[in-house]
């Protein structure tokens, strides 16, 4: 199978982020490529096909696990490493040189370099919270790149970190717990264990928590166990949602709940638990969703496939955008040279 076909068949987009100017969408995949989509293309009307994407290769050894955007820097979470790339909005150029790097320290008993699985950016305080493969959440100051604090407690790797404006951090992990943290306290302030709730447990799928989302009063989490809505004050599970697959994505969108994961649909539920819309997707599993309501409304869902799914009204699928094969300047067939390379590898 040719390399470009392989890339198209097994493209796995784990993360997306929107630039501060809300004009560009960045998608990173496990093959070390970052796709840059000009959002203007989505807004310009349905007749003409959207223009091509830009591609910035980070090297095939870089797994892009998560992305964030702060001021004019794209922040990339890779393996054992977080780095920033300057984004030049005028020239639409992503710098190839890393502007800064933060190394995740290896734990004493660690045998593997930890992945940076999830990042939550608190823009007001210029702080980045990174949930890593060693089960620790690192609080990193973006002013000097120093690790300010480590949140320890999870016994397995962290899937997801989110927070809210008043300094509370919530994390879901492979150990099946959702832990609540506070800037002011050393230990976790509270913990949920959805798999201990018999209504939520799906025994064949394990106890891991793949996604967490919060608003002022409520928290959603799901993974191996069924997704459910919890009340932040009382830590009670108030509503169970019937998403049929493993959960990797959840979010509060307007007054609905978005759920996605290893299922051929993403679903919107009302806060009462009623299914509102059921949107078919091509991803084997969905891993990321980003959305905005201004300057125009759109949501992009990515996952284990070569396509971005674009929703404009959060109810119906609007369009699908190819990633590989839809990149500026790279579509010229390089069959011949590729073929020669393979041929030379063959023993004479």
């Amino acid at each position: 199978m040719k390399e470009k076909d392989l890339k198209r068949a097994y493209n796995n987009v784990l993360s997306q982020t929107i630039s501060t100017s809300q004009r560009f969408l960045f998608c990173g995949n496990l093959l070390g490529d970052i796709f840059i989509l000009d959002l203007k293309e989505l807004d310009k009307g349905t007749e003409e096909p959207p223009g091509k994407l830009k591609l910035s290769a980070q090297g095939s050894d870089v797994d892009i696990n998560c992305l964030a955007f702060h001021r004019d820097y794209l922040i990339v979470g890779a393996i054992g490493l977080i780095y920033g790339l300057q984004w030049n909005e005028e020239e639409q150029l992503l710098s190839t040189k890393r502007a800064w790097e933060v190394k995740i320290p290896m734990q004493v008993d660690a045998v593997e370099v930890p992945d940076v699985n999830s990042m939550w950016l608190h823009s007001d305080t210029d702080t980045l919270y990174a949930g890593c493969g060693d089960g620790v959440i690192y609080q990193i100051s973006l002013e000097d790149g120093r690790i300010q604090r480590e949140f320890r407690g999870h016994t397995d790797y962290v899937h997801c970190v989110v927070g809210n404006a008043n300094g509370c951090i919530y994390s879901g992990a492979e150990d099946g717990t959702v832990r609540f943290w506070n800037d002011k306290e050393k230990e976790q302030t509270a913990m949920l264990e959805p798999h201990k709730n018999s209504q939520l447990l799906r025994p064949d799928w394990g106890k891991w928590i793949g996604a967490v989302a919060v608003n002022d009063d409520w928290l959603i989490c799901g993974g191996g166990p069924r997704p459910a809505i919890w009340h932040l004050g009382s830590l009670e599970c108030t509503r169970t949602l019937d998403f049929p697959g493993r959960v990797h994505v959840c979010d509060f969108v307007d007054d609905c709940v978005l759920l996605g994961g290893e299922h051929n649909h993403v679903q919107f539920y009302t806060l009462n638990g009623a299914l509102q819309s059921n949107i078919p997707v091509e991803h084997t599993a969905c891993y990321s969703s980003v959305w905005q309501t201004t300057p125009f409304k759109f949501m992009s869902i990515s996952g284990f496939s070569n396509k971005l799914h674009i929703l404009k009204d959060f109810r119906f699928l609007d369009s699908k955008i190819d990633l590989y094969g839809n990149v500026e300047g790279k579509d010229a067939d390089t069959d011949e040279s590729e073929e020669e390379a393979i041929f030379c590898g063959d023993a004479l």
Binding site: Y10, E112, K207, A341, I342, F343
Partner: protein, 631 residues
């Protein structure tokens, strides 16, 4: 003018006045005389009037002279401009004549001139002409350059001519020298003949072989000689070229050809016919005519590729077609043991088809062949059908290149290979390496389908400590069955118009779990690698469409490239082991979450899952004595 007229009028008036006064004076004097008065005072005053009259007279004369001078001046001016006009007219007629002459000159010689740039390239030291030069001047400049160029070329030509003459002279003298050796050599040979016989050296044998070669058509002759020389130079026994056919046939054909030519000359303008045609042309049907005119040269070349100790050989039969002006090759699979090798015959054709990209050999790559065939009432498609029907093989472009036949391929690209040595060498190497890799592949496929391999002991088994699964079945399936599997790996395959696929289904079992592997082997292997599509039946059916873990497994198997492994490794086996271990890992990691545990952790891995995608440790890492499966 007006002033002079005025002046004249004044003068007339003045004169008239004076005359009047004079007459009055005369009349008065006459009267006075008649009256007898003294007129002396009156006469003197009247005489004074004459002075004034004289003065006026002078004035008049002066003005006449001035007028005459003016007139003369104007006249000379007119004369001058008239002269100029004459001059100009003459000049115009002269230029017109010149133009006509130039035109005539241009028409006569009608030179094909190069552009300014080309001249400036040819004469870099001439000054750069000014951009404001008129087109005529430019043309002149170009002519000048052309003249210079021609002179230079002429001198070159002369030099070459003289050097040619010299070489000819040289050649002649050398030839004379060599011929002078001939009698001496002949006597030497005759005198040493007894010695040859005594030593039983047979110098003539090789020469005799060569006599058949002599009758080969030119392209095949070139090919044969090149192959032979290559073989001798490289001292390579892995390929061998032979001429097949009889001298007598070739001689016969040559004779018949000569006869045909002669007959054609005698009946010039008649329909083109084949040599046998002349007796019974009237009753021969079109088909017969075609068949006979499409006849290969009686001699053909057989090339055997494959090392002497291997039981399998690749046989290439190369024929030359005088009418089609091209050569064709047919490949045969040749096996010294008597095993039944169904399907193997197909792949040898594929091997040649995919030797070079876009050279499928499905049309005759000779320029203008359509036109020539029209004379025989044939089309090139008919000829191709004929060649395929009779199993004569295909006219690949690379083959024509080896025979130094100029080709025009599908994209209308003209190619005439002149470096035959390199070309032949490259093609042979390529065929040989493809042949070897195909041989390996078919052995692997045979091993899998007949299950006559020991999975435990194969060197491709990366993790010899344990193989919990077993391969229970491997069969060929139809392409439809394969496409029934809905996987991105199939959907995203590049458009492959000329590649055919053979497909297999392998079943691997461990406990209650079953894995079906659908394997697609492209006909242009090893340029493209086999693709595996997996589906696991265990607590439901898991495929790459509904389970990301399976998709990662498939990715891990399909991303294997030849550069990742040892040259001696069997590619398919490596893929098989990769898949089997991935299956094990899948079951063991998945099993760790199950309520009733069927599969325990047996493989050495650190963590069962990593990353948000819960990636399983499919990758096998071995460093010295430490080995583990990792993400």
């Amino acid at each position: 003018m007006a002033s002079s007229e005025e002046h004249d009028n004044k003068m007339v008036e003045v004169l008239n006045n004076q005359f009047e006064k004079l007459r009055e004076a005369m009349d008065e004097m006459f009267e006075m005389k008649a009256n007898g008065l003294n007129v002396e005072g009156k006469r003197s005053s009247a005489a004074l009037l004459f002075v004034a009259l004289k003065h006026s007279n002078r004035e008049v004369k002066r003005s006449i002279k001035a007028g005459r001078d003016e007139l003369h001046m104007e006249k000379s001016k007119v004369d001058l401009s008239r002269l100029q006009l004459q001059n100009l007219l003459y000049e115009v007629s002269h230029l017109k004549k010149e133009i006509i002459r130039c035109k005539n000159f241009g028409a006569k010689f009608n030179l094909e001139l190069l552009s300014d740039e080309e001249y400036s390239i040819k004469f870099p030291n001439t000054p750069k002409e000014q951009p404001e030069m008129s087109s005529h001047k430019k043309h002149l400049h170009r002519l000048e350059c052309e003249l210079k160029l021609r002179k230079a070329l002429d001198s070159q030509y002369n030099i070459l001519l003289s050097s040619k003459q010299e070489l000819l002279q040289d050649n002649l003298s050398q030839a004379q020298r060599y011929t002078s050796f001939a009698p001496a050599l002949r006597t030497l040979m005759e005198s040493t003949k007894p010695l040859h016989d005594a030593l039983q050296l047979s110098l003539d044998v090789e020469w005799k072989l060569g006599t058949v070669v002599k009758y080969l058509p030119k392209p095949l002759y070139l090919l044969f000689i090149n192959m032979q020389s290559l073989q001798r130079v490289l001292d390579d026994s892995s390929f061998k070229a032979e001429v097949v056919g009889f001298e007598s046939d070739a001689q016969m054909q040559e004779l018949l050809m000569a006869k045909e030519r002669a007959s054609k000359q005698s009946t010039s303008g008649g329909e083109r016919r084949h040599f046998l045609d002349e007796n019974n042309s009237s009753e021969s049907s079109m088909e017969n005519l075609q068949n006979r005119s499409l006849e290969p040269h009686p001699l053909h070349i057989k090339v055997i590729i494959g090392s002497a100790d291997s039981p399998y050989h690749l046989l290439l039969i190369i024929r030359y077609w005088g009418r089609l002006k091209c050569t064709t090759v047919r490949a045969e699979f040749c096996c010294s043991s008597n095993n039944n090798h169904q399907g193997d015959a197909n792949f040898v054709q594929d091997l040649l088809r995919h030797l070079y990209p876009n050279d499928l050999g499905d049309e005759i790559p000779i320029s203008g062949i359509d036109y020539e065939l029209q004379n025989l009432n044939m089309t090139s498609e008919d000829c191709m059908d004929f060649l395929i029907k009779n199993d004569f093989g295909y006219p690949y472009c690379w083959l024509q290149s080896m025979c130094s036949i100029p080709t025009v391929n599908k994209s209308k690209l003209y190619k005439h290979e002149l470096n035959l040595h390199n070309c032949t060498r490259e093609v042979i190497t390529r065929i040989r390496s493809r042949w070897n890799s195909w041989l390996k592949l078919t052995q692997q496929i045979r091993g899998l389908t007949y299950k006559d391999i020991d999975l435990y002991s194969l060197k491709e088994n990366i993790y010899p400590a344990g193989l919990a699964c077993s391969l229970v079945q491997c069969t060929a399936i139809t392409l439809d069955e394969f496409h029934h599997q809905n996987a991105d790996a199939i959907n995203y395959m590049s458009d492959t118009k000329c590649i055919t696929y053979s497909t297999y289904r392998a079943v691997v079992v461990r406990g209650s779990a079953k894995m079906e592997c659908f394997i697609q082997i492209p006909s242009n292997y090893p340029m493209e690698m086999p693709i595996w599509v997996l589906s696991i039946h265990w607590n439901g059916c898991h495929t790459s469409k509904n389970n990301s873990a399976i998709k990662m497994m498939e990715c891990w198997t399909n991303s294997l490239q030849p550069k990742h492994l040892d040259p001696n490794d069997n590619f398919l086996y490596v893929q098989l082991f990769r898949t089997i271990y991935s299956f094990d890992i899948f079951l063991e990691t998945e099993g760790s979450m199950q309520s009733n545990i069927e599969y325990n952790k047996e493989k050495p891995y650190i963590s069962a899952f990593a990353k948000r995608i819960r990636l399983r440790p499919y990758r096998y890492i071995k460093k010295g004595s430490v080995y583990a499966f990792k993400q």
